[in-house]
Every structure is written in structure tokens, then in C-alpha cells.
């Protein structure tokens, strides 16, 4: 399995999803080698997982050093600055070259025989994204030749060249798993080259897993894939992680409405700000928090200042660990106004903290939650009135939390993992 990120080094929902899925698949008897571009070169400590470091992979001796051993799940870390949600324009400008990525891969993999040093993905190619993707593909090529496996499973576009390479060398079947497309991240103004890599992955895959029906629709309509090739397997949530939570003391009395996610066009932070402004015209005992960072953050901060709602709207930057948990447990309402969300795992997390949620209709998660308030992302008036209703009617808030728990009971990684395994069996038979 080729991934991008894994707890605790995550910047988004992809790592969380891979963690939940692989954990339950291994519990159901799957042996998984999980390959990861890894930035810190540190060991990820986890009792149930097995990790391998790609930067310790010595191609000359074909030796793999295992960092953590476990019977069923192996992890493979590749030292690289690769990040799943990169929109840095300096990288994007270099994406020109990705059109010919297949040629590059072939060329570089040919060179492999002369390159006999430790695979260091932050080496030659520096911070060049194309280079990183290509070198990651090289890892796919190497593993395809040396590892023993039955199926290849690649998560999102940056791993697709690696997956395709592994398939080319090994002749094994390839499944690609779409957690988000470029159309979700950037609307119609996506990067052509990234879209090309996505299509390249889909075209070369034997099967495609989509995290929602919404995503399947995009895969079929925008990437021209055969609907029969695409299987929908919804994401889930790891329930045992957060049931034990203490309500932290807030330094103030107002209720908290939370936006938590990347502050990018995809996540609809601007709609959250405008809705907050409408709410504050009607009620004062509320504070809004925007947790996360992204290219739209400066504009959001300026907008708050312009609207003069700085006494009721706060920015925390990117949160992790204790701060992240505190943020959820302090909140009275979670809002996910995503413009386009293939799935969106954070509402689950909010619900585990007993926080009611309002989500946009344009999200895959709305397909599996029946007891949440949904609004169109652009309908800020409806969003604002939803926020006011939940905050001013405790009984509504309680009902949402209670019914939400019923929804959650039906959603588990166990089911998702079983569906993936069934799909494997179907392909291999």
C-alpha cells in the first residue's frame, strides 16, 4: 500500500483514514506493507503496526531495515518532504514537467542500476515536487521487484506513479483509492498536470475505490472512468480513541462554534466567516474559532478585521495533540462548510467529542449521516440560522448528539476494511 501520511505526522484526513483502514484490515488477517514518504526520519511508534524506513533502504544490497516488527502490517517510510495538500505555487510551477512523468519514471528507473546509495528522497531532487513524486515512483519500482505481495493499493495522486510502477514490474493488480480529486481541492481551476496524473492512475488501475458516491460521480464524469470499475467504500472513524474526554475549562462563558480544517477554497472557510458575521448580528454570546492553516488564511484574517468581529472570531493556526483535543472538547458546534468534500472525516471526530455538527450537502459524509443538519455551502443565511438554532436550543443540540451516536454505531472501519478485502478477493479470483 502506498500512502502519503500517517499519524502522528498528518496534515489532513488522509492519514487518519489510512490508519483506520489498515488497522482493521490487518486485524482481519491481511498482511500489509505500507509505504510512506516521511519527513522526519523518525520511527512511528505503534504497537499494532510494522514500519519500514525508505531512507534506510539500501538499493545496492537490496536490504530493508525494519524499524518496528509485526506479523501483519509493515510500514515503509521514505524520507521526503512530500505533503498531500501541497498547493505551493513554486511547486506548481514545476509541475509543467509532470505531463511527461511516465517518461521520467522510465528514465530514472533505468538509472537505478548505477545509483547504489541509500535512497534519500530529499537528496538530489531537493524540494522539487515532480522529482519527489518520481523518486517515490522509483520506490514503487524497487518494491515491485523485491517484495512479495498479491495486490497493490495506492492512496491519492502522488502515490499513483509509484503504484503503476509496482504494477508494471510485478504484473500484480492495482487498486487506486480516491480520497480527493483535484476538482475537490481547486474546483474547476485545478492544476492540469495533477489531473493528468490522477487520470493516469485511474486508467492504469484495475479497480478504483471512491470514498463516497459524490466522489464516484466526479471520477466517472470528470475522468471518464467506467462506473463499473469504481466501488464506493465510505470512510469511518476510530471510536475507541476519544471516548474518554474531559471538558476543559474555557477562559470565557461564550459558546464556541468551530471550523477545523485546511483554510483553502475546498473547505469553504469564507462561507463560515460570512455566516459568523450574520450570527453575530443576532446573538453575542458566541465565539467562532477557525483552526487550521492554508492559503486563504490571510484573507480570512483581513475579512474578520474588516467586519470588526475580532472580539468574537479567533484563529488558532494548525492544531495537534492536546490542543486539538481541547479544541474539540471546548466546542459547542462543529461546522464543515466544504465546497467540495469527497468524504470529510472531521465531523465524525467532532461527534465523538459529543459536539453536534452542521455539514455542507457537498460532502461525502452527508451520505452516511442521517442525523445532522445539512446546508448548501453557499447558503450562508441557512447556515447562520442553523448555528443560531443549535446554540439557542439545548434540546436540539442534545438530540443531534444523541442521534449522531446512533449513526456512528453503524459506521466502522471494520465494515470498510471488510469491503476492501472483499474487493481484493473479487479482483484476484
Amino acid at each position: 500500500m502506498f500512502g502519503w501520511e500517517f499519524p502522528p505526522y498528518i496534515s489532513g484526513g488522509l492519514g487518519t483514514a489510512c490508519f483506520g483502514l489498515t488497522r482493521h484490515m490487518s486485524e482481519q488477517g491481511m498482511k500489509i506493507l505500507f509505504v510512506l514518504p516521511h519527513i522526519k526520519g523518525k520511527t512511528v511508534q505503534n504497537s499494532t503496526l510494522e514500519l519500514l524506513a525508505g531512507n534506510k533502504l539500501d538499493l545496492s544490497e537490496a536490504k530493508i531495515r525494519k524499524i518496528v516488527r509485526n506479523k501483519t502490517l509493515k510500514f515503509f517510510l521514505v524520507d521526503s518532504p512530500l505533503r498531500p495538500y501541497m498547493t505551493d505555487s513554486s511547486y506548481l510551477s514545476k509541475m509543467e514537467a509532470i505531463r511527461s512523468i511516465n517518461d521520467q519514471i522510465t528514465e530514472i528507473t533505468r538509472k537505478i542500476k548505477t545509483v547504489n546509495t541509500v535512497l534519500d528522497l530529499s537528496g538530489d531532487y531537493g524540494r522539487d515536487l515532480v522529482g519527489e513524486v518520481t523518486r517515490y515512483a522509483q520506490v514503487g519500482n524497487y518494491l515491485g521487484a523485491t517484495e512479495d505481495f498479491d495486490i497493490i493499493h495506492a492512496h491519492d495522486w502522488m502515490t499513483f506513479p509509484a503504484g503503476v510502477e509496482a504494477k508494471r514490474i510485478s504484473g500484480k493488480k492495482l487498486i487506486i483509492h480516491i480520497h480527493a480529486t483535484e476538482f475537490d481541492r481547486c474546483g474547476e481551476n485545478g492544476n492540469r498536470q495533477i489531473i493528468d496524473v490522477e487520470r493516469y492512475g485511474m486508467d492504469n488501475a484495475d479497480r478504483i475505490i471512491a470514498v463516497s458516491h459524490r466522489t464516484k460521480k466526479i471520477i466517472v464524469e470528470k475522468y471518464g472512468q467506467d462506473p463499473d470499475k469504481v466501488t464506493v467504500i465510505h470512510n469511518a472513524v476510530l471510536k475507541e480513541t476519544k471516548l474518554e474526554h474531559v471538558r476543559l475549562r474555557k477562559g470565557f462563558n461564550e459558546k464556541i462554534v468551530l471550523f477545523l480544517g485546511r483554510v483553502t477554497m475546498q473547505k469553504g472557510p469564507d462561507y463560515f466567516v460570512e455566516a459568523a458575521n450574520l450570527v453575530l448580528k443576532n446573538m453575542q454570546n458566541v465565539r467562532f474559532v477557525m483552526a487550521g492553516t492554508g492559503d486563504m488564511l490571510p484573507r480570512m484574517i483581513e475579512r474578520i478585521a474588516e467586519l470588526r468581529i475580532q472580539e468574537h472570531f479567533h484563529f488558532t493556526g494548525f492544531l495537534r495533540g492536546v490542543e486539538l483535543e481541547s479544541m474539540f472538547s471546548m466546542s459547542d458546534l462543529y461546522v464543515m462548510p466544504s465546497v467540495s468534500e469527497p468524504f470529510g472525516i472531521t465531523p465524525f471526530e467532532a461527534m465523538l467529542y459529543g459536539v453536534p455538527v452542521i455539514i455542507s450537502r457537498q460532502s461525502g459524509i452527508s451520505e452516511v449521516l442521517s442525523h445532522v443538519i445539512t446546508v448548501d455551502f453557499w447558503d450562508i443565511e441557512k447556515l447562520a440560522s442553523g448555528i443560531i438554532n443549535v446554540l439557542s436550543h439545548p434540546e436540539l443540540s442534545e438530540t443531534l448528539v444523541e442521534m449522531g451516536h446512533h449513526d456512528l454505531e453503524k459506521i466502522s472501519w471494520h465494515h470498510a476494511a471488510r469491503k476492501v478485502i472483499e474487493l481484493y478477493k473479487e479482483i484476484l479470483s
Binding site: 490571510p298 484574517i301 478585521a305 475580532q310 479567533h314
Partner: protein, 400 residues
């Protein structure tokens, strides 16, 4: 006789903790980054204040009282010096005791108070007078507002408070064809005098001294004195106003700025009998205003625009300023002197300077000792702190 009038600004803000985040609001009332404030004041003391004061004292003694200068030292800078570099206070006391050094009045916290609250402005000027009286046993009679921010209205207010003169920028937009090298009178005033900064000659030292791309580089004392001597016959006073940090901090010691300073007074007055050094108070007693100067809008000495856009005008700055001053009434109503002092320190102009988004021509100056990586970080931190003060005011039941 032409008077050369030196005034040096001595100021360091109290910087905030850059890690003061959302989770601190209502719980953590410790806002200041005491470590970096201490380190910066120590660094500036060692690189600038101590060696520059030593040089000034030597020059005053050498020229037997003919070298005369003035300082404006902000209240919060004095506080920080008392705490972390008391020897600097002592050396300023020694300078004042020579009788050749005048201290000017300003707002205690180097604030923009005049633009937002006249009451707060008067209180801060009074607090600053008191601080100067306590430490130096003198009463300032010449005023300079934060960053030379000035207008007709300010002049009226300053005159009411008993000052005899006020300093301002000799900005092109107010001077027109006039020369900055004369004494003026603010248009609405009859007693108050106005000294205008000669920005070309001042900035030759403050900004250009070490600039190797400048066609006049390297600048020596003889050449510079020559430029000043050209004023003879068409001016009465040359006002050289600049940050004191010019000596040793903006222009490092290795640029030769201290050697330049040591040589300058001799070159200026010994080689030309018509030139002398005077402090602002001495200038107004020996010169008469030549004309009224009408300044209906605000000017300052900052950036190329010489206006207020370094501290206000973008939405971040305006919303922060508005929120800060909106807390004045409840803070004062609380009667809590410690809280009042904490709030006052948040009015220091530097906090708003850090939120400036016009990076084009003056970005480098704005980055100087700026603790934040962006104006957005500066804003978010500052607003978090104000929100905490608001919570304190609510607990004290002076705010709903």
C-alpha cells in the same frame, strides 16, 4: 548664526509573546515576552546607548559646553532600562547634569493616543513628564509626538498643556517652497513654536550613511559639515532629528559611525564661526518664527509617504486600534492601576507597525526587531491579548 539642533529618539517597545494563543484567552494574563525584551534592550544598550552616550559625554567635555543635544526617551523604554540596563539611566543622568542636554516630552508609551483619545493623550504626556522629573529632575518644555505625528490640532492641544515648542517632519507636502531651516509657528497658535526636521540631512546619517550604493558613500565628517555649512545665509536652524539607534544599531560600529560622530562637532563649529549647536529650547529663545505653518492633516516622519499609513489604514490595524481604545473607559473605571499600565503598553505604536502590509518601499524598516513572521500573526496575537483583557474587565464587572 545658524543653529544645529540635534534630537535623538530613544524608544523600545514591550513586545508580546508570539505564542499567546486562543487557549490563553481568559486564563493567562502574562502577555509580554520578557526574555526577548530583556535581550533586545541589553543588545541595544551594549551596541548603541552605552557607547553613544559615552561619545556624547566626551564631546560635551571636549567642546566645553558648545556641543549641545536633546533626547526624547519614551516612558516604557526608561522602564525597561531601569530593569535591565540601569547603567544607561545613570549615563543619561550624567549627560543631563552637564547642562548641555535637553530632554523632550512625549507620550509615556510612544502611543498614537492623540489620534484616538485626547484624554489618554494628556494622561500619557503627564505620566511621561512625571517619569522624567523623577529620574532626571527636569521638566520638558518642548514636545514631540510619537514618530513626529503632527497636525494643527495637535499643536493646539500641546500649547494648552504648557509646552513652548513642538517638533514635526519637514515634509514636502506641508513645506511647499518653504525651507525647513527656519523656525515656524503652528497656524492656530500664538505662543507655540514649530521646529521642522531637515529630512535630507537627517536621513543622510540615519539611512544612507553606510549605503554603499549611495553616490556620496563613504561619508566623512568634513563632507557632511560642508553640506550643513551651505545653509549659511539662507537658514537659521538645521534640525537633525533621528533615532538614537542610528549610532551602533542601524549603522553598526564597523561602518565608522562613532568615529564620524566624534569628529563632526569640531568640523561643524570650529571650521565655521557662524555655526553653533543649540537645543530646541535654546533655538526658540534665539530665533523668531518666520511664518505660520498650516498643517490641517496628519503628517509623520515615517516611510516615504510621511503620513500615518505605517500604523493605520489597513483593516488589521484599524480593527486592532479601534478595539484597543474601546477598552479605555472600562479600564479606567476599574481603578486597577496594574491593568491600566498593561493596557497602556498595548497602545505603543510598534504593535500596529508590525501589522503593516505595505511592504513595497519600507518593508526593511518594518522588519527591524519585528518579532512576527507576518502582519497576520501580529494581528492575531494582539487581538488574543485584547480579548483576554476584555475577559478581565468582565470579571471586574466594568464591562458587560
Amino acid at each position: 548664526m545658524v543653529s544645529v539642533c540635534f534630537y535623538f529618539q530613544v524608544h523600545q517597545p514591550v513586545r508580546l509573546r508570539t505564542d499567546y494563543n486562543f487557549f490563553c484567552i481568559g486564563k493567562d494574563h502574562n502577555y509580554e515576552d520578557s526574555k526577548s525584551n530583556r535581550e533586545i534592550i541589553r543588545k541595544v544598550a551594549d551596541k548603541c546607548y552605552i557607547p553613544a552616550n559615552r561619545t556624547m559625554l566626551k564631546l560635551i567635555r571636549k567642546h566645553k559646553g558648545r556641543f549641545r543635544i536633546s533626547y526624547s526617551i519614551s516612558g516604557i523604554c526608561l522602564e525597561q532600562l531601569e530593569l535591565h540596563a540601569p547603567e544607561v539611566i545613570e549615563s543619561f543622568q550624567e549627560l543631563v547634569s552637564t547642562g548641555c542636554v535637553e530632554l523632550l516630552g512625549e507620550t509615556y508609551c510612544h502611543s498614537l493616543a492623540f489620534n484616538f483619545s485626547h484624554r489618554e493623550f494628556r494622561e500619557q504626556v503627564e505620566a511621561h513628564r512625571e517619569k522624567i522629573r523623577k529620574l532626571f529632575r527636569v521638566k520638558p518644555s518642548v514636545f514631540r509626538n510619537t514618530e513626529l505625528i503632527y497636525s494643527n490640532d495637535l499643536a493646539v492641544e500641546v500649547e494648552k498643556m504648557g509646552f513652548k515648542a513642538v517638533l514635526a517632519e519637514g515634509a514636502n507636502q506641508i513645506l511647499g517652497w518653504h525651507s525647513p531651516n527656519y523656525l515656524y509657528q503652528p497656524a492656530p497658535c500664538y505662543k507655540l513654536n514649530l521646529l521642522l526636521r531637515n529630512y535630507r540631512l537627517s536621513d543622510d546619517l540615519a539611512f544612507r550613511f553606510s549605503d554603499r550604493n549611495w553616490d556620496q558613500w563613504p561619508l566623512n565628517a568634513a563632507k557632511y559639515a560642508g553640506w550643513i555649512h551651505k545653509v549659511a545665509g539662507n537658514g537659521e536652524v538645521v534640525n537633525l532629528f533621528m533615532d538614537y539607534e542610528t549610532f551602533g544599531e542601524h549603522q553598526w560600529a564597523d561602518t565608522g559611525i562613532f568615529e564620524f560622530l566624534q569628529e563632526l562637532p569640531g568640523r561643524m563649529i570650529l571650521t565655521h564661526p557662524d555655526f553653533r549647536f543649540q537645543t530646541p529650547s535654546e533655538v526658540i529663545s534665539s530665533c523668531q518664527p518666520v511664518a505660520k505653518m498650516d498643517v490641517p492633516y496628519f503628517i509623520s516622519w515615517a516611510d516615504v509617504e510621511r503620513d500615518l499609513t505605517a500604523w493605520m489604514g489597513n483593516s488589521l490595524q484599524d480593527s486592532a486600534l479601534q478595539m484597543a481604545y474601546s477598552l479605555e473607559t472600562p479600564v479606567k473605571k476599574s481603578g486597577n492601576t496594574e491593568l491600566l499600565h498593561t493596557w497602556r503598553k498595548l497602545l505603543t505604536s510598534d504593535h500596529f507597525y508590525y501589522m503593516c502590509t505595505k511592504w513595497f518601499s519600507d518593508g526593511d524598516v518594518h522588519k527591524y526587531f519585528n518579532p512576527y513572521s507576518s502582519p497576520y500573526d501580529a494581528y492575531v496575537t494582539y487581538i488574543n491579548v485584547l480579548n483576554d483583557i476584555k475577559e478581565t474587565l468582565k470579571r471586574l464587572e466594568v464591562l458587560n
